[in-house]
Amino acid sequence: MKYPSPSTIETRQDEIIQAFKLLEDDREAMLHYIMELGEQMPPLANEHKTEANLIKGCMSAVWLKPCQQGDRLFFEADSNTAITKGLISLLIRILSGETAQAILQSNLYFIQGIGMHQLIGSQRTGGLASMLQQIKLIAAQQIKNA
């Protein structure tokens, strides 16, 4: 079995940090960029916007749908707010398609790297942490079931 190098997750994080650096601390531009990233993510079909897929601990509604293909985990997501959709799109961009083990072991330093806490505030940073926790919970469940 071939495991992806952890650097893949790191490379994608580094790309995101670089993209945010180009916005030179322009808060409005950064928020619009996050929203644009969310818009690029295909919407989740309504049938998947279920209570079971709803992430607890977020100010807005966020649905996360996992899908296992071989030893890889893929994620789709949606939210009723544009910024939250953008936030989860970042997590999906970094982690979707990785193995459960790699997801569990990942260190998402990009959150600090782009100054997410200052950008979105403590309540939404808490929401982002809930999204990440849910992704890791799904990964842990997959390892347990394997």
Partner: protein, 412 residues
Amino acid sequence: MMHIVKNKAFNIPTIRVQFPALQQYIHGKPLIYLDNAATTQKPQQVLDALLSHYQFTNANVHRGIHTLGDRATSALEATRKSVQNLIHAAHTEEIIFTAGTTASINLVANSYGQAFLQRGDEILISHMEHHANIVPWQMLCQRTGAHLKVIPITDTGELLLEGWEQLFTPQTKIVAIAYASNNLGTVNPIKELIAKAHQQGAVVVIDAAQAIAHLPIDVQALDCDFLAFSAHKAYGPTGVGILYGKSELLERMPPYQGGGEMIREVTLDQVIYNQLPYKFEAGTPNIAGIIAFQEAINFIQALGYEAIQQHEQQLLDYAHSQLSRLPGIQLIGTAPHKIGIVSLAIPGKHHLDIGMLLDAQGIAVRTGHGCAQPLMQRLNLEGIVRASFAVYNTLEEVEQFMLTIQKLSQRK
């Protein structure tokens, strides 16, 4: 550039300079604070009074014989007098210090409601109430078997007065209504409601949380039985509330909370309660906050309600006239008689996203259900964006808010 006529009666720079919190930058932009319905900023004289109490007169009240205790007690009782004067109460002992509007309403529900309501009685509220004027009554209904009835509202955000008289029955025991709505800004015709309620023998509880900083209140002219508000929405400190009650009602009511201060004599077998207002003030109150609230009252009275209303009406009229011209903006609450609250929704855009993008511009507004989920259900909205004005807001700030809203509404 839109044409702006300034209100000459009001010297805004002189007012603004008294508020340290307004002098700061948020995300590199001058703070535009438009969340005054949630809480107002505090003038320097209130902050000075808070600090000065802790520095020089800190002692418990109504207890010690020593000088500091006496000074603290005198200052606290002076605030009670000021509040009496502010709302034109007949007697000083009709002013009860609480922790806030919510605590005041809960006091009435738990004391008056529990003592005088029974199964089958009715409590009348409106569809625009804040949760603080809904949930205590729902809880009282659960405990007593009383029923909650609701005065409906129109699409413009006014009480639907057509047929409202039928809602009053001989079983109506309490009418609890906001003087002004926290989300719609609507000023309700409470004098008419009070008169009608009294014809049926009901008592009336007025939630004046949104009124106190903006409208003159005369509890005797209104003839309301209870009136509740918070200091922090009127330039005072947090954690201080007022319950006004007619003395004949307060006398008949049992105490709500037991403890120190509210008793005259305690043995292990029995207790004799203290007189008004202390019967309802168990425990050590927020002494510093209450003392500093007097300075907030002084601040309001120095400006005068007439000038305050004139200034805030100008901000409201300007915001309404401009926003109503913008396509893609849904104005929420367009009653003819309003306080300075402008609520809106932009179809297709979530209120949390709008709030965050406004914050990026240094503009603070309230987003969400505004502590009134039944109102949001009635209006078929998940949430709103609410800008609420105070004495220190300027037409330029309102314009900046509108320009940002316009920009956001035009974004794909």
